[in-house]
């Protein structure tokens, strides 16, 4: 095996638990030329706002940013599907010289007339500020003309990291919050934040809460609607999933409307149950909520248990690597994998902060590699060294695993299968099982030796 070099400037972002004092140098701008797996500010904003299905999403800039994000995620809608279209002002050379404001105004006018959206989001891409376009002014003008909210999203790709894109999206959402009626909102009510309805996950979660007797005022942004966002300040509690994409909004709503928030995760049995119990506990003035919650958890766990137990037999002792966007998801995945009898040998995230990495360090076994903002070479090096049987990541990580004969589970936004909720745990286990137990790995040269040595050990 030829050794894969690690850049010196990257070494403070790679740790192996138990080998050195742990201090992750995270939250940094990615290193030029390191081939980061991260995207940009625009990506962060697009991820958050994308599932709002009755809004117009207009990307102001040259064509690339719109083309690469056309119908990119399996964020489902129960009604309108305007979010699945890709709209761009498609700036050309002369716009770069003379400015793109006129095109932006024309595009907004044309598209609003054609599609009658409930609101419009205008995403600023890299060059918009540089060519001097006043996007906010154009948005204000069109808003007056058309009578719908037209919201600029300050998502110039280079102005920070993906997290700054989350913030820009939350800023845009926050302008909608508080503009709708809060009539018919019960005291036991929540907003589900940071759930994007990939493969219908938000519907699963919403069903649980509703069965508990909790009213779901809005989901941000899965199967999202502008009117729901507008009246979300009427909910009694914000329940925030994901590592901070929507935490910015929860913070702002807490400051302005006094809405408390709690962080949850819907992946894995433990975290899913905790997400329901925590909400029930919050509404302990209504004790019947907790009683119903217990019944739901019992029912759901009993439903999935028989098949999960069968799957566990095949997965026991297998080794997994995790590289995901947000660290919060990694926490849940570690627990879920352990539940399946698997060991986690590598875990990393694109956007984790210091406290996230401290938590990961606490959770992991000695020898586990923990990485921040990794690149393909680092990931390859450690999945090989750690003899992983499975890699959990997104599309960009998939070929790295496959070339080396390692199974893969897509846990990113392109997945089509719901992995959240109790039934999601079963889907997750099936996904992992499907890849890990395939007979094809016997033909992978890099794996043959590893598999053989494991057989020896078993004997």
């Amino acid at each position: 095996m030829s050794s894969i070099p690690i850049l010196e400037a990257r070494q403070a972002q790679i740790h192996q638990k138990g080998t050195q004092p742990f201090e992750m140098d995270c939250g940094k701008h990615s290193l030029a030329g390191s081939v980061s797996q991260r995207a940009c500010v625009f990506c962060g904003s697009r991820v958050v706002l994308y599932p709002i299905a009755d809004a117009l999403h207009l990307i102001h800039g040259p064509i690339g940013c719109a083309a690469y994000t056309w119908d990119i995620r399996g964020a489902l809608s129960s009604g309108p599907e305007l979010h699945r279209m890709s709209f761009s002002t498609d700036l050309r050379e002369k716009d770069v010289i003379f400015g793109g404001e006129k095109k932006l105004a024309a595009a907004l006018g044309e598209l609003i007339d054609q599609y009658r959206p409930k609101a419009a989001f205008v995403y600023a891409t890299c060059i918009v500020g540089i060519i001097g376009d006043d996007v906010a002014a154009v948005c204000r003008k069109v808003e007056q003309e058309k009578g719908i909210p037209v919201l600029p999203v300050h998502s110039e790709g280079f102005k920070g990291t993906k997290k700054d894109g989350y913030k820009a999206a939350c800023d845009a959402l926050f302008k909608l919050v508080g503009t709708g009626s809060t009539a018919d909102i019960a005291p036991v009510s929540i907003n589900i934040l940071g759930e994007f309805n990939i493969g219908g996950e938000a519907w699963i979660i919403k069903k649980y809460y509703e069965q508990m007797g909790v009213q779901v005022v809005s989901i941000m942004t899965g199967d999202g609607r502008v009117d729901q966002v507008a009246r979300s300040h009427g909910a009694a509690l914000n329940v925030v999933q994901c590592s901070g994409a929507l935490t910015f909004l929860a913070e702002m709503m807490k400051a302005k409307y006094g809405t408390p928030y709690m962080r949850v995760s819907y992946f894995g049995i433990d975290d899913m149950a905790k997400a329901l119990y925590d909400v029930a506990e919050h509404f302990n003035a209504a004790p019947e909520v907790m009683a119903r919650t217990r019944a739901i958890v019992r029912r759901e766990v009993e439903t999935i248990m028989p098949e999960l137990n069968r799957i566990k037999c095949d997965l026991y002792g297998k080794r997994a690597a995790i590289y995901v966007g947000g660290a919060f998801k990694a926490f849940s995945l570690i627990k879920a994998l352990r539940y399946l009898g698997m060991t986690v040998v590598l875990v990393g995230s694109q956007t984790g902060n210091e406290s996230d990495y401290a938590t990961l360090q606490d959770m992991c076994d000695d020898g586990t590699v923990i990485l921040d903002d990794a690149n393909p070479l680092e990931l390859s090096k450690y999945i090989i060294e750690k003899k992983a049987d499975l890699f959990i990541g997104g599309v960009k990580e998939r070929p790295i695993a496959f070339k080396m004969g390692i199974g893969f589970c897509d846990h990113n936004h392109e997945r089509k299968i719901p992995l959240a909720g109790f039934e999601g745990m079963l889907h997750f286990a099936r996904e992992v099982h499907n890849s890990v137990t395939s007979p094809v790995w016997q033909f992978a040269p890099a794996r043959a030796a590893v598999l053989e040595s494991k057989k020896e050990v078993a004997r």
């Binding site: 940009c40 064509i63 719109a66 699945r84 700036l91 790709g157 960009k396 998939r398 004969g405």
Partner: protein
Amino acid sequence: MKSARKTETYTATQNACNLCAPLGAALVFKGIANSVPLLHGSQGCSTYIRRYMISHFKEPMDIACSNFGEKTAIFGGGANIKLALDNIRRQYHPDLVGIATTCLSETIGDDVPMFIKAYRDANPDEDLPALVHVATPSYQGTHMQGFHGAVRALVETLAEATSRNERPAVNLFPGMVSPADLRHLKTILADFDLAGNLVPDYSDTLNGPLWTEYHRIPPGGTPVAALRATGGAAASIECGLVLADEPKTAGTWLQERFDVPLHRLGLPIGIGQSDRLFQVLSKISGKPVPEKYTARRGRLLDALVDGHKHLNGVKVALFGEEDLVAGLAGFCGEVGLVPVLCATGGGKGRFAQAVHKVVPERYHDQMQVMEDVDFVTIEKALEAIDVDLLIGHSKGFTMSRRLQRPLIRVGFPVHDRVDGSRLLHVGYRGAQQLFDRIANTVIEEKQKKNAVGYTYY
């Protein structure tokens, strides 16, 4: 024949039928041996492009980025290029780094050639990789301009006036075709006993086997030595009917600078365009067309005759890259398929003419040719006309589903099938596969719609 362009009056682009220039350049640089593409712009540029290409090629896709921050946009990207080059060299030990700009670095006016010179001057004693720069502002042209621009930049930077070899060498600029196409073209060159400089050649780098050990850069690709040797080739062949009118290409540069004769052909799709390629190769090599290919051509013609009734008069809509669509339109005209709509997101004002040239005149009054259009415009046009089949890339699926017409997947991207890299379009074998797939689809549709359930067709 009607033709239309979108930009005559401005409208927003809805579901684009093209990608941005840096993608095309990155793809070319992925086809050079031991090379790393470097996009000079925001982190998202490389990440989105990597993701988009991985879903098609299903291979590792390391594309570096100079990763602009706010300060970079104010002070320029010189320091970032330097740092990126240092880090790429440390991690990948490449023979070549292909630097493509983006809308951001072009708009702030970064002088990349100057940065490269400064980098060379600062590292005088080191064995540097070849550094090739191409300007690919995303607001100019499409991914095809990025592709052809990068091919030109490679030979412009590296070609040398080497002496002509005893074994005649030919430069083949195949255009944006599949790994299977590239592999087939290499076999054809070898069968003519020609030393070929195929630029680019991502047949192995983007369609390789499983690995025994990890490769920092996937094996394969056009060697840098072959790029240098392009100046001494006996001839250049450039494929693409629209490209053939482009005044500044790799081929024209080699012709002007090194007197390398240039043959400008279409993509060798279908019988006539493949024949032209074989004739040119025969002329350059001084050898007759190998028997293997005349036999294959014979079997192809036999198959066309056997199945001609299935295709004659069937109306198809073609969409995708301008040269691919023009090539396919020519093939359609040869087998009786009526290309009622030919559409591209690119075109540069020369698309209609190129399509015109290769489709028999008798079809012209049934044809609509559109360039610089998006999918919403294409779909609207198709709603108004009668069409049986769609032929194009995966992004036409949405339209195919709504129109309830089958989509035969060709070109790039193929994101919803497993065989994007293995699709063969070129040569007699490519024509055979296209013919078979189209005819089988027509039969399948007949079977689906027929209540009897015939088992003979």
